[in-house]
């Protein structure tokens, strides 16, 4: 195990991503395993649509799938091309183009106050400290949150926290926004507001959710099961098939290990 701090300058082998590439992600027989346990297997698909939803039962590989898009995980087999560049070569550039919003805002916010949290994204991109602060305040005002700027993150409500986490990612102006079950702990009204915010964005969206209601206005829905793509189609078609499948399984004795 390496001592901290151990930092080696990255080699200049990086190929420059093309942010406008369409499709932005090309999966070619992509697989992912942890040790000998397969998590994702044999995925071949292309992502280009404006808004893509992902659904699946617990343990189906949804979270790992979306983490591939941001470079948080690297495929262990097959080829993954993101923004026109093989994923392992794009890795260092990916956080700039792909924003990632996690399920629990308490796990995502890095800084004690809202303003610092937003400004961090800008300093990450090389903006100076004071300039970042100023632009962070302006950005908050633009989204109607100027009142929150100086507040400690721990004192915000759940919905405010999640909104700040989304803004903290948006301020980096990504081309793609990945959201991993962002509404799972929010009430109906807050969910609706955040959904509205998401739908108003010019960014491409990939949203993981258990709730079909959140896929209204989406162009495409992927259904993952046991690490494989079970179905790929319009939200309506996938919803019908998914619900039928869940109903047909309810009668069976379900092993606890499948839950």
């Amino acid at each position: 195990m390496a001592f901290w701090p151990k930092i080696r300058k990255p080699k200049a082998q990086q190929r420059v991503c093309n942010p406008d590439a369409s499709p932005y992600a090309v999966f070619d027989r992509v697989g992912l395993s942890a040790g000998s346990t397969p998590i994702l297997e044999d995925l071949t698909l292309q992502l280009a649509e404006h808004r893509i939803g992902i659904i699946g039962l617990n343990g189906s590989g949804k979270s790992s799938f979306v983490r591939l898009l941001n470079g948080l995980r690297a495929p262990t087999s097959g080829n993954l091309t993101l923004f026109g560049v093989p994923s392992d070569e794009a890795e260092l550039e990916l956080p700039r183009h792909v924003g990632f919003v996690f399920q629990n805002p308490d796990h995502q916010a890095i800084f004690p106050t809202v303003e610092e949290e937003i400004a961090f994204g800008l300093t990450q991109l090389g903006t100076g400290k004071e300039e970042s602060r100023r632009r962070a305040r302006a950005f908050l005002a633009l989204h109607g949150c100027e009142g929150l700027a100086g507040k400690p993150i721990t004192e915000l409500s759940g919905g405010q926290k999640q909104l700040i986490c989304i803004l903290a990612v948006l301020v980096m102006e990504p081309r793609l926004l990945v959201l991993d079950e962002p509404m799972s702990s929010l009430d109906a009204l807050t969910t609706a507001r955040i959904r509205q915010k998401i739908l108003s964005l010019p960014q491409k969206i990939v949203l993981v959710s258990h709730d079909f209601g959140q896929f209204d206005g989406f162009d495409r829905l992927l259904w993952l099961e046991d690490g494989r793509l079970r179905m790929d189609g319009t939200p309506d078609a996938v919803r019908a098939a998914f619900q039928e499948d869940v109903l047909s399984r309810q009668g069976m004795d379900v092993e606890v290990t499948e839950l």
């Binding site: 040790g35 617990n58 979270s63 262990t76």
Partner: protein
């Protein structure tokens, strides 16, 4: 699985039955192992754990970068833990002569034993840095540069060295039972080393002879022994529930 927050026993009797029945059980390490509810993904296992890979060169670079970030977060985490423990009000136990015991040095011992020598010492240094910057994180709500001019500054200097030694012992006794290893590390690093630096500090700052300074400091040793025991139990529980967190041994 997490305990059900909603389950509230009806009366005192029921409470006691409940404790007998479930109280011991739900606290056991197995129950606190992080359940794989978050889909199939768990960062410490999947992102940072050892991986088998067909493309070692790429992954080597990746793991190294993640390590730096993760270490940074861990160092900050333990610094915050020491700070949070400083907010626990001191307890005075009668059988220890009524000397107030603060929880803060528990954090110092944990940092060394859990993080290993370098990161453990860095965590304590980071904590002291924050105190020096003016945050009232020392037990009793003290902070600022003033505390580094006080008679107990030797103990503050001793903390990072103690964490370093504790982490080093923990790392070099990997074969030993974890409870025993943690107790020895915490006792040697968190008491022996800290007092070895702290007592001369008191002597110099307060113009006392060494034996007098030692006498004045010795009243805190029983409380520190209690913290050694706590450290050992916590480390053992964490080793069962979240083994990847015991970085000194991984």
């Amino acid at each position: 699985m997490l305990p059900k927050h909603s389950r509230r026993a009806a009366g005192r009797k029921a409470c006691q039955d409940d404790r007998k029945e479930a109280g011991d059980d739900w606290l056991s390490a197995e129950n606190w192992a992080i359940p794989p509810t978050d889909d199939d993904f768990h960062p410490s296992r999947d992102l940072f754990g050892p991986r088998v890979s067909g493309r070692p060169v790429v992954l080597e670079k990746k793991v190294e970068f993640i390590m730096a970030d993760r270490s940074l977060v861990h160092v900050a985490f333990y610094a915050a833990l020491i700070a949070a423990l400083g907010l626990v009000p001191p307890v005075a136990l009668a059988f220890l002569g009524g000397v107030p015991i603060t929880a803060q040095t528990l954090g110092v011992m944990l940092a060394g034993v859990m993080l290993g020598p370098i990161r453990g010492a860095l965590a304590v240094l980071l904590f002291l840095f924050l105190v020096a910057l003016g945050l009232p994180f020392l037990s009793g709500g003290r902070g600022g540069l003033g505390v580094f001019m006080g008679p107990s500054v030797g103990f503050l200097i001793g903390w990072p060295v103690g964490a370093l030694v504790a982490g080093w012992i923990m790392r070099s006794t990997r074969e030993l039972n974890i409870l025993l290893a943690a107790a020895i590390s915490a006792a040697v690093g968190g008491i022996l080393v800290v007092y070895a630096i702290g007592i001369p500090g008191v002597a110099i700052m307060a113009g006392l002879s060494l034996p007098k300074a030692a006498l004045g400091s010795a009243v805190f040793i029983p409380g520190d022994l209690l913290k050694v025991a706590l450290t050992a139990i916590i480390v053992q529980t964490v080793a069962r529930g979240l083994p990847s967190a015991v970085l000194s041994r991984s």
